[in-house]
Point group: C2
Chain length 306, copies 2
DNA sequence: GGGTACTGATACTCGCGCGGCATCACCGAC
DNA sequence: GTCGGTGATGCCGCGCGAGTATCAGTACCC
């Protein structure tokens, strides 16, 4: 009888029994198992003692399974198969063939680089599952720190120690305003011309650095903007602009496919810049699945200067 | 590294690893497992070597799970739980608390004793599953011999060696005939009065002995019956009688709740007798679940003389 | 900064139990 | 009867798991 932990048997006993049940023949089973027949006899006997049940009927000529043995065999089969798959599964995980990667992103990422990356990644690594969630920059930074996500597409506005980053793109923000707005008649605008117009912005807590940089740009232009509404994700700002609640910032990439009631205009002179960055923890070596994702993302989008 | 069979680890290693992963602490896990800490350290290290993967990050202060470790843990949990349940499941099977019993029956059984037996059995043994199938006598005898069913309710007409039986009831057959039939006006009939009437019977192959006994009864009454149709299960004969295709035999128990277009009449004088018997293999001791079923069946229906 | 307490890893020994070989007991075929 | 084949049993060696003692590194304390 083996030691305990709560299991009155060892893997050995179960495998041995299964083999005997398959062959219904101790010697043949022993040969398959590459052990001698007496050892097999004893192991099966031990299992029967441990379980307090006759698993096999030993007649002088041949062996038959009892109902208890059959039930054991049926419950055993999937369990042993599951255990047998463990090494291969872990190898696949280590090789980056399987696994899952939690990825967070912002609206700008989904409007630009993300679809291409996702398509390419799925093509190259079909067995790695991605868990995607839209999330503001500040929440992504916290989630990266806590290990809740493996990597994120976000807009940093300060150095991010403890993170490794890859700059994917930089875009100057323009202005989205109602098509009926007087300034919409102009091909491009300057910040200071927007002094009287209410603004729709994202909540400051979602990216304080970028938020403050926007305000600083206004201040440099000699303007104090009026924040009429806050909304997130930024793409929803289109609805507010369309409803005439104000104007908002947006990058050209995000300004594709807009309804006719709104107009996008570039900014001349100082303008807030959005920087899309892929970031992941620098503290631990990326798991293979994450490494595979990072490789695809960085390969399809060569780095820009920070 | 333990011996092989294809599993590069032993149950021990898995349980030990799970315990460490739970506590994230070698000493506490060792205490729970009632072994010394060094043994635990070595076992986990062996598992990691065997799987070729780092399962735990050992920092000097505390232990953390790696992605590989987490995956192993997730696949392990249900497998170990399944293995832990094996002893209790086998005990339950041995005690007759679980298991399944394949039971065959005929229409007469379902019309009489079976519903009561099933209700009582389910009340007493809720965890034993019954697999019920309506099947003619001859098929039940073959299935009992082959071990395809554990017991059957049928109508033997010859000694059944290799079976143990319990006689549940005996009933004289009466005649079911269309309500519009001239003989339906009489309160009871004699066999010979049915000479001119076509009969609906079950296929002879389904119970040759009983079939022949019916013909013998006719012959004793000086009549050669005309078999118009054969049908099974017998209860479906009601439809044929109702359609005016002929008359058929039936026991009073089966003749409950008949549509008004048919009439049941008892037979005076010689009449075929149906004997309902519960039978099971005499060759092997009944499995606990079957024994439980037989106990209920025989207890609720004390034996009749054969 | 050195002591202390804690972590997990290592060195060594001990003894249980697995597995091997040889053999037995029993059955069926002929 | 003999012979071939089944699974069980006796016995022995030794591998390996577990225990004790100890080491090595870190965090925290004053």
């Amino acid at each position: 009888m083996p030691r305990e932990y709560q299991y009155p048997f060892e893997l050995r006993h179960l495998v041995y029994f299964r083999e005997v049940a398959r062959h219904l023949h101790f010697r043949k089973a022993a040969e398959t198992l590459a052990i001698a027949q007496p050892a097999l006899s004893r192991a099966v006997a031990q299992l029967e003692t441990a379980l307090g049940a006759n698993l096999l009927d030993r007649t002088r000529r041949g062996v038959a399974i009892t109902p208890a043995g059959r039930q054991l065999l049926e419950t055993l089969e999937p369990l042993l198969r599951g255990l047998a798959e463990i090494p291969a599964d872990l190898q696949a995980l280590a090789a980056g063939e399987t696994g899952h990667v939690r990825v967070a992103f912002t609206g700008l990422a989904m409007a630009t680089v993300l679809p291409g990356i996702l398509g390419e990644f799925h093509r190259r690594h079909p067995r790695i599952r991605l868990e995607l969630s839209e999330s503001p920059t500040s929440a992504q930074l916290a989630a990266l720190q806590a290990g809740d996500i493996a990597c994120g597409f976000f807009h940093p506005d300060a150095p991010t120690p403890a993170l490794r980053t890859h700059v994917l793109l930089r875009e100057r923000n323009g202005v989205l305003l109602p098509a009926a707005h007087p300034l919409a008649a102009r091909p491009s605008l300057r910040l200071r011309e927007l002094a009287a117009t209410p603004f729709v912005l994202f909540p400051r807590s979602h990216n304080p650095g970028f938020y403050d940089r926007i305000l600083a740009a206004f201040a440099a232009a000699g303007v104090t903007p009026r924040i009429a509404e806050e909304i997130w994700p930024r793409a929803n700002g289109v609805g507010l602009v369309r409803a005439g609640l104000g104007v908002t910032f947006m990058t050209p990439s995000e300004a594709q496919h807009l309804p006719p009631e709104v107009a996008f205009r570039a900014l001349q002179g100082p303008a807030p810049e959005s920087r899309l960055v892929l970031g992941w923890s620098a503290e631990t070596e990326p798991a293979p699945a994450l490494a595979a994702f990072l490789a695809v993302a960085t390969a399809t989008h060569p780095p820009r200067k920070p």
